[in-house]
C-alpha cells in the first residue's frame, strides 16, 4: 500500500508520515523541508492551491497511491478537495484519527457542529485531510530516498502580498491550569481581572471565539474550540462562558472543570464538575484575595 502525503508544515508532515508508516503504508511525501518519508520529494515552498494541486496530481499519476493525505490546515483543505474533485474521489477533511482495514479506511470527525463524532468508512483509493495535532503516532524508521522536485509554477490567481501573522507563543497545550474567558466579560479592560487570576494560578489564558475573532481582545492562538485549540489541563476554570458545543469540544479532555456563570441553565453546566452560579465581577475579586 502506498500513501502520498503533503503538508506545508514539517512537524505536521512528520506526525502524519509516522502514522501512515505505522499502518503499513509506503510513505511518499511532497515537502518544503527535510522530513521523514520513504520517498521524499523535496520542493521549494509554494502556497498557491493551483500549483500544489498540479504537483500532487503529477506525483499521484506517477506513484499511483492508495491514499492521498493532507494536513487539515486551510491550505490543506482547499488543495485536498480541489484534487479530489479533479480525480472524482471522496475527500474527508478534519479527520481526528485514521484506521486501515483491508482495502478501506475508517476516520472520525466532528459533525453537527461538534455535537457528535462521526465514524466514516470509505474504500481506497481516497483522499483525507488529518488534523495533525490530534494524530497520535510513535516514531518509525523510513527508507529516506530523497529526490529534488520542481512544483510546476501554475497559479490561477495573483498574490499581491503575504504577511506572516504575528504569533504569541502560547502554551495552552502543555498548561496544567487554564483560565478560559467568554462573552460574560463586559469589556476589554476587564481582562485585567482574568489576567490577575491567571497569574495567581500560574495559568494560561484561553478564550471563546467571539473574544479572539470578533472583538479581537485576545490573539487567535488563545481560542479554544472546534476551530481552535483542544486542551487537556488538570484544571480548567471557565469564566462567563455559555458553553456552546463548538467551544466545549475543545475542553473535553480537561481533568477538572470549574465554571462561573450567571445563568444557571447555561449549557456550560453539563461540561462542568463544579458549576458556580454567580457574577464573575463579584466572585473573581474575592477569589483572587483567597489564593
Amino acid at each position: 500500500m502506498k500513501a502520498l502525503v503533503f503538508a506545508e508544515k514539517a512537524d505536521h508532515l512528520n506526525r502524519i508520515s509516522s502514522k501512515l508508516k505505522e499502518l503499513g503504508f509506503e510513505v511518499h511525501a511532497l515537502s518544503f523541508a527535510e522530513v521523514n518519508a520513504d520517498f521524499l520529494y523535496l520542493a521549494g515552498p509554494k502556497y498557491d492551491y493551483a500549483s500544489i494541486t498540479a504537483a500532487i496530481d503529477m506525483l499521484s499519476n506517477e506513484i499511483r497511491p492508495d491514499l492521498v493525505v493532507f494536513s487539515s490546515t486551510k491550505l490543506g483543505k482547499e488543495v485536498s478537495s480541489r484534487f479530489a474533485q479533479r480525480k472524482n474521489m471522496t475527500c474527508i477533511t478534519e479527520c481526528l484519527d485514521l484506521q486501515l482495514s483491508d482495502s478501506s479506511i475508517t476516520v472520525s470527525r466532528y459533525s453537527l457542529g461538534g455535537k457528535t463524532v462521526t465514524k466514516i468508512r470509505t474504500h481506497l483509493p481516497a483522499v483525507v485531510a488529518l488534523v495533525a495535532d490530534a494524530i497520535e503516532s510513535k516514531e518509525q524508521s523510513f527508507q529516506m530516498n530523497v529526490r529534488e522536485f520542481q512544483i510546476p509554477d501554475s497559479p490561477q490567481i495573483r498574490t499581491v502580498s503575504r504577511e506572516e501573522k504575528r504569533r504569541e507563543a502560547v502554551g495552552l497545550k502543555e498548561a496544567d491550569v487554564i483560565v478560559v474567558v467568554g462573552r460574560g466579560l463586559r469589556k476589554e479592560e476587564d481582562l485585567k481581572l482574568v489576567k490577575e487570576l491567571a497569574k495567581k494560578l500560574n495559568a494560561e489564558i484561553g478564550c471563546t471565539r467571539p473574544l479572539s475573532h470578533d472583538y479581537r481582545w485576545l490573539p487567535e492562538e488563545r481560542m479554544i474550540g472546534l476551530s481552535g485549540e483542544k486542551v487537556s489541563p488538570k484544571l480548567l476554570i471557565s469564566i462567563g462562558v455559555s458553553g456552546q458545543i463548538q467551544h466545549a469540544v475543545g475542553i473535553m479532555n480537561s481533568k477538572t472543570v470549574i465554571a462561573i456563570n450567571t445563568d444557571e441553565n447555561a449549557p456550560m453546566k453539563e461540561h462542568s464538575d463544579y458549576f458556580i452560579v454567580g457574577d464573575l465581577y463579584e466572585i473573581l475579586p474575592e477569589l483572587i484575595k483567597n489564593l
Binding site: T93, T116, R162, L201, K269
Partner: protein, 249 residues
C-alpha cells in the same frame, strides 16, 4: 454584475438534543439557512449595492429547502434556483449538483461560506471551482475591490494573511468574520414569497447520486462531569472555589 451565492440548509443545531442513554442525536428538528451562507449573501448584497446587478441563491437539499430558501430571498437574493430531492449529502455530489445549476447561467462571481457550521468540511468552493474550471479564492475575510473583470480579496489563512487578486469569473468563499449579516425586516420576509424560485430535480439535471462512503457511527462524545452546582454569597463561593483549586493543583 451577476452573482450566484451557493447556500446550504442545515439542522438548527441549537435544537439538536442527544439521547442520554444511547448518545444518539435526535435530528427531528427544523432546518435553517446556515450562518456562513448568510455571510456570503451579505457580501453579495454589498457588491450589488455598489455595482448593481442580480443575486441568485443556489442550493441543493431536502423538500424543506423550499421553505428555507425564503430566508435567502428575504435577506436580499433576487431569485433562487434549487434542487429539493437531494438528501444524500456527500461533498462530491453536492458540488456536482450545485455546478450543474450554476452552468445553466453565466455568473461573474460565485460566493459561498468557507464551510458549513454543521460539518465544517470546507470543500465546496474548491470542488465547485474545479468542476467549472474556475479560479478560487478561499477563506476570504475582506473583499477589497470588485471591478469590471477583477476581484481583490484578503485571505485569512492559518499562519499568514494574504492579499490576492483574480480575474472574474471566480469562486470566492468567505469566513464567518467577514461581516455581520443583515436581519430581514417583516416587509422583506413578505416580499420573499413573491420572488421567483426555479425548482429542479436531480433527474432534470441528469445526475445520479451514488454514495462513496458509509457512516459507521454518529454519537455524542461521552461527557461525564460531576455537575455539582454551587451558589451563595460571593465571598463564601470564592472560598469554596479556592478549596477546590487547592485540591486539584
Amino acid at each position: 454584475m451577476k452573482i450566484a451565492v451557493c447556500v446550504k440548509e442545515i439542522y438548527n443545531l441549537e435544537q439538536v438534543k442527544i439521547v442520554r442513554e444511547t448518545r444518539e442525536p435526535i435530528l427531528d428538528v427544523p432546518k435553517k439557512l446556515d450562518d456562513l451562507s448568510r455571510n456570503a449573501l451579505e457580501e453579495a448584497i454589498k457588491i450589488r449595492e455598489k455595482l448593481g446587478g442580480e443575486i441568485v441563491a443556489i442550493s441543493a437539499g431536502s423538500p424543506e429547502l423550499r421553505k428555507t430558501i425564503k430566508e435567502a430571498l428575504a435577506m436580499g437574493a433576487d431569485r433562487a434556483a434549487i434542487v429539493t430531492d437531494f438528501t444524500e449529502s456527500s461533498p462530491e455530489s453536492a458540488a456536482l449538483v450545485l455546478s450543474r445549476i450554476l452552468e445553466k447561467d453565466s455568473y461573474d462571481l460565485i460566493l459561498l461560506g468557507d464551510a458549513s457550521s454543521d460539518d465544517y468540511s470546507g470543500q465546496m468552493a474548491s470542488r465547485v471551482a474545479e468542476t467549472l474550471d474556475l479560479p478560487q479564492i478561499t477563506f476570504v475575510s475582506e473583499i477589497r475591490e470588485v471591478s469590471d473583470g477583477k476581484i481583490t480579496c484578503v485571505r485569512d489563512m492559518d499562519d499568514y494573511i494574504e492579499v490576492v487578486e483574480s480575474d472574474l469569473p471566480c469562486v470566492v468563499s468567505v469566513t464567518n468574520e467577514i461581516n455581520e449579516p443583515r436581519i430581514p425586516a417583516l416587509k422583506d420576509i413578505l416580499k420573499a414569497s413573491k420572488k421567483p424560485v426555479e425548482n429542479f430535480s436531480l433527474q432534470d439535471l441528469g445526475i445520479e447520486i451514488s454514495r462513496s462512503y458509509e457512516i459507521v457511527e454518529n454519537l455524542a462524545p461521552a461527557v461525564d462531569r460531576k455537575q455539582e452546582v454551587i451558589e451563595g454569597e460571593a465571598a463564601e463561593v470564592a472560598g469554596k472555589i479556592a478549596e477546590i483549586i487547592g485540591r486539584e493543583v
